[in-house]
């Protein structure tokens, strides 16, 4: 690393991203307007304007914007690093992701051909008008979805992860002290309990955790509108009344006029074109959220958010650091002509079975569609995308699965061995929880406390820790079972669990 020049490429990148943004023009206008003020003197113009921007809170907004950029910025690396390496450094993982994507695309193509439904279709004027009128009650529509099936389910994805192998890794077939009993066979670096104790020190048993109802006064963190402080605060849980503000602050998700306008533009995109992916979304919502006691009331919101999400080209930016690649196609009759190349769906993300569960819990926090949409999009491009793409990232699903298995093998070896012997590999049960970050499995208030920590620690690791903690909690019952089906039955209902005590006990009370 070259001393002194480390920061300048980062700074240049952030400046370039913020330049020309709405915040930039607002700052310029503020700076221009403040020139009339008496305290601004010509001799010390620069310092006075700066002081004014600081006092009026604009500097804080700029800080928050920079803070957000740092979160989505690519890690500093060698200048000759090719783009594919930035998405995913390991060649064999890139290959596995590419072949998985090919399977998914083939499946989507054959669905389109077999059902005779085009991938995209411009709606005739009458249909557009209908949809505009029905926008707030799309749930009442009952299209015939029986022919549609989800493109893939989490268990299909699990099989792909299980078959991941590093061709350069020497893993002998013998069972030795070193060998890993679990299903994931790639040697990623995951943290053990001692390292987790250090990293998650705020969750120590000595520290009180929030989760009980809020205070009447507004917390200073919210008053000062500081993103970094909000993130730190979330580590010990957010009070229910303040959670929506704190999450929006941490994600730097605003609801300014241009955000509302952006949402309206997406809505126009939904009205204009009908996509095959829309039917997958309808089907997913009907199969999952609509059947859930907590979330069925939000069915209409879910359509409004997910259909708009599919049209949002701003999501394409996250593919710079996502190992996945958006699917490509050409306008009819122009195959091979790059001028007519487009991405499908417009946001590059093909929803799978259970996808709507990423949105559902957020409906409890935000009741305005554009705000709900803005927060969901930020959550997706920061965290959720890692749960369904193959990468070596420490928050990626592969690392989470490995971490879950390692924690279990290290601290509950008897249980792991027993489950393995009866053909009930723990990951086969825990995978579906982790892929959805426990949405739909925990009760909503507990789920939101878990997601507080995902935001607070900027990592999905806590999901793997909770999965191991659940197994630890039910260890006695699990030792008695004799089949995968009975093990599944023991762990079928997590709705009564309290997540923070489980996590705290697992991390800080386990004997090493």
């Amino acid at each position: 690393m070259e001393d002194g020049t480390d920061l300048s490429p980062s700074i240049a990148q952030i400046v370039q991203r913020l330049r020309g943004s709405h915040l930039h023009s607002q700052l310029e206008r503020q700076a221009k307007d403040c020139l009339h003020r008496p305290e601004i003197k010509l001799e010390s113009l620069k310092e006075d304007v700066r002081a004014f921007l600081k006092a009026s809170g604009w500097e804080k907004r700029l800080q928050n914007a920079v803070y957000r950029e740092l979160h989505v910025q690519l890690p500093q690396c060698h200048p000759t690093t090719p783009a594919e390496h930035l998405k995913e450094p390991l060649a064999y993982m890139r290959k596995a992701q590419a072949s998985w994507e090919k399977r998914v695309l083939k499946s989507l193509n054959s669905m389109s051909t077999e059902l005779g439904v085009p991938l995209a279709r411009m709606r005739p004027a009458g249909e557009q008008k209908d949809l505009t009128n029905k926008w707030n009650e799309m749930g009442t529509d009952e299209p015939d979805l029986s022919r549609f099936r989800p493109v893939y389910a989490p268990k299909d994805f699990l099989e792909v992860l299980i078959s991941l192998r590093n061709p350069n890794h020497d893993s002998s077939e013998d069972m030795t002290v070193k060998s890993h009993w679990g299903l994931i066979q790639v040697p990623l670096n995951v943290r053990d309990i001692l390292q987790l104790r250090q990293a998650y020190s705020e969750l120590n048993l000595n520290n009180g955790q929030l989760g009980i109802d809020d205070h009447a006064h507004v917390h200073p963190v919210v008053v000062e509108q500081d993103s970094a402080a909000a993130q730190q605060y979330s580590r010990r849980g957010c009070p229910t009344g303040l959670r929506s503000d704190l999450w929006a602050l941490t994600l730097n998700s605003t609801n300014q006029p241009q955000d509302v306008m952006h949402y309206e533009q997406l809505k126009a995109g939904v009205i204009q074109h009908d996509l095959l992916v829309d039917y997958l979304i309808y089907k997913d919502v009907k199969l999952t959220a609509s059947n859930d006691d907590y979330y069925f009331v939000f069915e209409d919101f879910l359509y409004q958010v997910m259909l708009c999400f599919s049209r949002d080209t701003a999501v394409l930016e996250h593919f710079k650091y996502n190992s996945a690649t958006p699917p490509k196609s050409y306008i009819h009759g122009k195959v091979g002509n790059e001028e007519f190349a487009v991405l499908y769906p417009p946001n590059g993300v093909i929803p799978f079975h259970g996808f709507s569960m990423y949105v559902a819990p957020l409906c409890f926090l935000y009741n305005e569609p554009s705000k709900l949409y803005s927060v969901f999009r930020m959550m997706y491009i920061r965290y959720f995308f890692r749960l369904h793409s193959i990468s070596s990232s420490p928050s990626g699903i592969v690392a989470l699965c490995l971490q879950f298995e390692r924690l279990l093998q290290a601290h509950l070896p008897q249980l792991f061995y027993h489950l393995r012997q009866i053909g009930a590999q723990p990951l086969r049960i825990a995978f579906k929880w982790m892929v959805r970050a426990f949405s739909g499995y925990l009760s909503t208030d507990q789920l939101l406390l878990l997601w507080d920590r995902i935001l607070g620690y900027d990592s999905l690791e806590v999901v793997a820790v909770l999965a191991a903690a659940v197994f630890a909690f039910r260890a006695e019952n699990l030792m008695e079972v004799a089949s995968l089906a009975s093990a599944e039955a023991v762990l079928a209902d997590l709705s009564t669990l309290k997540v923070m005590p489980l996590i705290q006990i697992f991390l800080f009370a386990t004997a090493i």
């Binding site: 330049r19 060698h78 411009m122 080209t313």
Partner: protein
């Protein structure tokens, strides 16, 4: 950095070191030596792509400037860690760059470069470095001086015939304003996209490309 700026050098095939009799020894070696021959260059930086090497030591064969034939080996960098943990993937396929400032000796008049690679973990079948490139040290270019003959040019002024034409001063000032505006627009170019996903309103697409 432009690849064409790197120096051509011959990289010999890696030699894995063994203790004792190489034949019949089934254990894999954890140390590998890669020799890179150059001809008397001053190194600015060395770049390479890692392939499962945990630590690298760089030794240089430097020729003393005045004395011919008396070249000496010295260590430029000892045990630089390329992987956070030799047993796990972190850093295993990353790109690295070692600048002359990071080296313990001045890498000048280098005739040969020896990279000693270590991978103590038995988890990997192979380890190596790929795409090794050397970049020569360039002296900063001297200030260019304006040629004498340019400064000797005499500007000839002739009042132009302005019958019926607008005042040149107003025209030039308004053009200047427009130019300044375009400069501001260019400088403020935003990375935000417009957000359209169709091509001229059309989004009737073929099946998805599988390539």
């Amino acid at each position: 950095m432009n690849h064409s700026e790197s120096v051509d050098c011959t990289v010999k095939p890696p030699v894995f070191l063994q203790i004792g009799d190489a034949k019949g020894d089934s254990a894999r070696s954890g140390v590998c030596v890669v020799d890179d021959l150059a001809t008397d260059i001053n190194i600015e930086k060395i770049t390479f792509k890692n392939y499962y090497t945990a630590y690298v030591t760089i030794r240089l064969l430097r020729r003393k400037a005045e004395k011919e034939g008396s070249a000496k080996w010295c260590t430029a960098l000892r045990d630089l860690a390329l992987m956070d943990n030799p047993h796990t993937e972190g850093g295993s396929q990353n790109y690295f760059s070692i600048h002359r400032r990071q080296m313990q000796v001045e890498p000048d008049h280098v005739e040969s470069l020896r990279l000693i690679l270590r991978q103590p973990s038995s988890a990997w079948r192979l380890f190596n470095l790929e795409e090794i490139r050397l970049f020569p040290h360039k002296e900063p270019a001297p200030e260019k001086e304006v040629s004498d003959w340019l400064s000797n040019l005499i500007v000839v002024k002739q009042p132009p015939d302005l019958e019926g034409l607008p005042d040149p001063q107003t025209v030039s000032s308004s053009i200047q304003q427009m130019w300044a505006l375009t400069e501001v627009m260019q400088a403020n170019r935003t990375t935000a996209s417009i957000g359209r996903f169709d091509v001229d309103g059309c989004y009737d697409i073929n099946l998805l490309s599988l390539t």
